[in-house]
Symmetry: C2
C-alpha cells in the first residue's frame, strides 16, 4: 500500500474519502465501547442521540456520489491489478460498502439506530425482570427494521434473510448455510445423545466453587497475556456482555464478565475476546483508515476467537503450561486437584441453557435453535409474542432442558437488540473455519502444538497473522479459507476434531 | 423551549442542524476523555486522525450555508422576542458559532487539530524528560496556529490576542482585562510581600505526609458527594491533568490526579472539577443538543469550580463538617491533629511553582505571569526558545522562587498544547466572578453559610443552579453577572474577601 507512483490520481482521493468514513466509524465504536463499559446509565438517552447523528453522518459520507464516480473511473485500474493486490481488494470492499450503504435510505439508518439504543436499554431492564414481555415491543420494532434492512439489501432478489446473511458473511448463500447446518446436525445430534447418556463420566464441579473475583480477574489477564494478546496496546474491562473492539491495530479493547461461582465464565470469555483481539492487532498498519482494516467476516472473526478459546484454551498443551499458575492463584481450591481432572472439567459436555457457556459439542445446537427461530420470524410463521415459548420448546427438543426464566432463555444474547437474522450463523461458521484453519497450520508446522506445553503459542499466532490477519478484508471468507488451507470451506475437519477429542474424553 | 406553536418553520429546522453539531461535538469530547483517561498511549496516532476527521466534519456542518440562510430568515422572529427568551439566546449563540467557524478555513481547522494531538504527545514526553527543549518544536507550531486563529477571528480588526480573548469570554475586551489585572496587581502585590515575611505563621506540613492513595481516592469521592455532585450521573477517573467534561446533563465526568505525599492535590482538584461538574449537571434538559447547553464562558465556568474548591472547600464551615471524616479515614495522621490547625493548613499562603496548587492569594500572580508571557509571544517580543528562561525569570520576580526544572515550570500546564493566548486569563476572571456571585448569594440567603457546618451545601447550589447554571449560554458573562448580582463585573468583592480572610489568618 505504499505510494508506487503508478496510481491514478483518483485513487488517493478515494482513499481520503474512505479514511474519513473509517475515522467516524471508529468514533462510533468508541461511543459504543464507552456506553457498555464506562457510561452511567443516566447518559443513555443522550448517547442514543449522539450515535444516531454519527451514524447519519457516516451514512451520508458513505453514500457520497463522489465515491461512485471515483469507483467508476477507477474500473480500468482495478481490472489491471493482480487478484491479490491490496488496491484491488480495497476497491472491491469500497464498492461493496457503497452498495450496502446506498441500499439503505438515510431515514431508515437513523431511525433504526435510535431504535437499537432504546432496545438495548429495554433489554437490560427486561433482563432485570427476567421477563421477555418487558422487551417484546422493542423486539417487534427490531424485527420489523431487520426485515426492512434485509429487503433493502436484496432489492427484491430473494428473501430479506439472505440479504442479512451476505451482509455479515460476504459471498455466503443460504444454500451453503443449509448444507453446513445439515452436515452438523447429522453428525452431532447422535453424538450429543450418546454423551447425554454418560454425563457423569466427567465431573466439573470444581469450576463452580467460589473463586475470588479479584484473583479471577488477574489470572484471566495472565491467560490473555500468555497467548500473546498485547495488553499494553489495548485494554481489558468488564461489561454485561463480553465483546472486543478495534480503534487501531495498536488500540484493541476486550471485555469479560465475572461470576464468583463460575471460574470458566470470565476466563474463557477473556481468551475468546483476546482471540478476536489477535485478529485486530494483526491488521497491517498500512490498512488503517481503509475498508481493508477489518476481519474478513463475522464468521472469520469468530474462527479466531474460537481458536484461542477452544482449540488452544481447552487443549491439554495449554493446561500443561497454565494449570500450575491457576493452582498457585487458587491454592485453597486446587492444591490437591490433578491437572488431568482440570483438563477434563473444562471440556465437560453438558446440555445447558446459556450459549456462551456451552461446550464445543452442544454449542452449534444453540446456534441452530436461534437460526431456525429467526427463519420462522422472518417468514412470519412465528410471532414475537410466541418467541419465548418457542425458544423454550426448542431447548426441550434439542437439548432436553428448559429455561426457568427468560434471562436464562430468550433474553440471554445482546444480538437481538441489534438485528434479527444477521448474526448467529456466523458463530457456527466460525467454529467450522477455526478447525479447518488450525489443521492447516499444524500440517504446515507439525511442532506447533507441542510448543503449547512450554507456554509458547507463537507458532500458531504467527501462522494466523500471516494467513488470516494480514489480509484484512482483502479476500472474502471462502477465498481466504481456500488460500490458507488449499481446500474449500468444509465441516469435515471440525467434525473429525469433535469426534476425536470427545470420543477420547467419553471413552466412545 | 417547548413547542409554542408560534415558531416560524425555519426555527425547528435550524435546531435540528444545531443538534447534529452538538452531538458530533460531544462525540469529539468522548474521544478526548477516552484519550486522557483510558486509551493506551500506542493508540495516539490513530486517535489524532479520528479527532481531526471529527473536527473537520463538525467544521463543515457548522459552516453549512443553510445555517446562514435560516439565521437570516429568522431575524424578524429573533427581534420580536423579549431579551431573556431562550430562543433569542439560542439564535444569538448560533450566529456567534457560525461566525467563529466561518472565520476559520477548513484546512486550518484540520491541520491545527492534528498539530494539537501531536503537541499533546510531545508535551507528555517532554514532561518525562523535564525538558521544554523536547517540546519546543511543537510549541512553535501551536503558537503559529494560535496567531493564525486569532487573526482569522479578528479579520484585521485589532490584535490576534483580542480575537482569542473574545473567543473564550464572549464580549470581553483587552481593555477590561488590563483593568482587572491592574487592580489585582495593585492590591495583591503588597499583600503577598507582607505575608511572605511571615510564612511561618501557618504550618501545613501535615498535608504532605504520606497518605494512602486508595483512601485518598475514597475521601475525595466523599467530598465530591458531600457538596452534591451526582456521581451516579457521571464518573470520576484519574488523568495527567485534572479536567471535567460534559456528554449530557446526566453524564458529567470529572478527573483528578493523585500524589501520596500531597493530600490537597487530589482532594481540591476533585472539588474544583466537581464545581465545573455542578455547572454541567445544572444545564436544563431542554437546552440539550443546542448551543445553549454550555457554560457562559471559560471564566464563568471557572467561577463555579473556584466556588466549590475555595469559597466552600477552604471555608471553616466546610471543615467543621468534613474534617471528622478525613480524621476517621486517616487516624494515623490526624487522630490528635486539631480542626483549627487543619483549616489553617489548607489555607496556608506560600509562593510556589505550580499553579494548580497555588493558594488563593498568590494564584493570580501565576496567571499574570502566563498572561504577560503570552502577550510578549504574540507581539514577537519573546521567542519560544527563550520562553523557559523568561518563565523562570518572572517567577523569581513575582514570587521570589525559581523552578528547578521545566516540569515544575513551563511544562506544567496542558493549555499550551492547545492554544496560546486563549485560556489563562479566564482563571483570574473566574476567581473574581466567583466571589462576586457568592456574595450576592449570601446577601440573598443570609443563613446559607451557617448550613455548611451541618454538611448542607444545598442553599448555595440551589442559588447557583437558578442564577447561573439554568441559563447556559443564554447571556454573555458580564450580562449574567449583572443579572445575578445587580452589579457590573468588579474585583472589589474578591479583594475584600482575600484581605478579610487572610488578614485574619495572618494577624495583619
Amino acid at each position: 500500500m505504499k505510494d508506487t507512483g503508478q496510481w491514478p490520481s483518483e485513487y488517493p482521493r478515494l482513499r481520503e474519502l474512505l479514511a474519513e468514513i473509517e475515522d467516524l466509524s471508529i468514533a462510533l465504536a468508541i461511543l459504543d465501547w464507552d456506553e457498555q463499559t464506562q457510561m452511567p446509565s443516566s447518559g443513555a438517552q443522550a448517547r442514543a442521540d449522539q450515535k444516531a447523528t454519527l451514524e447519519k453522518t457516516i451514512h451520508a459520507k458513505t453514500t457520497d456520489p463522489q465515491i461512485a464516480r471515483l469507483l467508476e473511473s477507477l474500473m480500468p485500474f482495478e481490472e489491471s491489478l493482480p487478484p491479490d493486490a491490496d488496491e484491488r481488494g480495497l476497491l472491491r470492499m469500497a464498492r461493496r460498502q457503497y452498495y450496502l450503504a446506498t441500499c439503505l435510505p438515510e431515514k431508515l439508518v437513523t431511525d433504526f439506530s435510535r431504535a437499537r439504543s432504546r432496545a438495548f436499554r429495554d433489554w437490560l431492564s427486561a433482563r432485570e425482570k427476567k421477563d421477555f414481555g418487558a422487551y417484546l415491543d422493542s423486539f417487534q420494532v427490531i424485527l420489523d427494521y431487520s426485515i426492512k434492512v434485509g429487503e433493502a439489501l436484496r432489492q427484491g432478489q430473494g428473501q430479506p434473510l439472505e440479504g442479512l446473511l451476505d451482509y455479515s458473511e460476504p459471498g455466503m448463500t443460504l444454500e451453503v448455510m443449509e448444507r453446513i447446518f445439515g452436515e452438523l446436525k447429522e453428525s452431532l445430534t447422535p453424538l450429543v445423545k450418546t454423551i447425554s447418556d454418560r454425563l457423569d463420566t466427567i465431573d466439573d464441579r470444581i469450576l463452580y466453587e467460589e473463586y475470588d473475583l479479584k484473583r479471577q480477574w488477574d489470572i484471566g489477564l495472565q491467560g490473555v497475556d500468555a497467548i500473546g494478546f498485547r495488553l499494553d496496546e489495548g485494554r481489558a474491562d468488564q461489561s454485561v456482555h463480553p465483546f472486543s473492539t478495534y480503534f487501531s491495530p495498536r488500540d484493541v479493547r476486550i471485555t469479560t464478565r465475572m461470576d464468583p461461582h463460575d471460574f470458566g465464565m470470565s476466563f474463557f470469555a477473556f481468551l475468546h475476546e483476546a482471540g478476536h483481539g489477535h485478529y485486530m492487532q494483526g491488521i497491517p498498519e498500512a490498512y488503517r483508515r481503509s475498508p481493508l482494516a477489518e476481519g474478513a467476516s463475522a464468521g472469520m472473526h469468530e474462527s479466531q476467537s474460537r481458536t484461542w478459546e477452544n482449540l488452544v484454551g481447552r487443549s491439554r498443551g495449554f493446561w500443561r503450561h497454565f494449570y500450575p499458575k491457576v493452582r498457585q492463584t487458587f491454592p485453597e481450591h486446587l492444591a490437591d486437584f490433578p491437572e488431568e481432572d482440570w483438563y477434563r472439567a473444562v471440556n465437560r459436555v453438558q446440555p445447558s441453557l446459556i450459549r456462551v457457556e456451552a461446550d464445543e459439542v452442544t454449542y452449534n445446537l444453540h446456534i441452530m435453535i436461534r437460526y431456525e427461530l429467526e427463519k420462522s420470524l422472518h417468514a412470519g410463521a412465528l410471532a414475537p409474542r410466541d418467541l419465548a415459548a418457542a425458544w423454550n420448546a426448542k431447548f426441550k427438543e434439542y437439548l432436553g432442558i428448559e429455561p426457568q426464566n427468560d434471562l436464562e432463555g430468550v433474553l440471554q444474547d445482546i444480538h437481538w437488540t441489534g438485528m434479527v437474522g444477521a448474526a448467529f450463523q456466523s458463530y457456527t461458521l466460525g467454529n467450522v473455519m477455526a478447525v479447518q484453519l488450525y489443521d492447516a497450520a499444524v500440517r504446515q508446522n507439525p511442532q506447533l502444538e507441542e510448543a503449547f506445553e512450554r507456554g509458547d503459542f507463537s507458532g500458531l499466532l504467527a501462522w494466523t497473522r500471516e494467513n488470516v490477519h494480514a489480509h484484512g478484508t482483502k479476500f472474502f471468507p471462502q477465498e481466504l479459507i481456500q488460500r490458507a488451507t488449499g481446500q474449500e470451506l468444509t465441516t469435515a475437519p471440525f467434525l473429525a476434531y469433535i469426534h476425536r477429542k470427545f470420543g477420547a474424553l467419553y471413552d466412545l
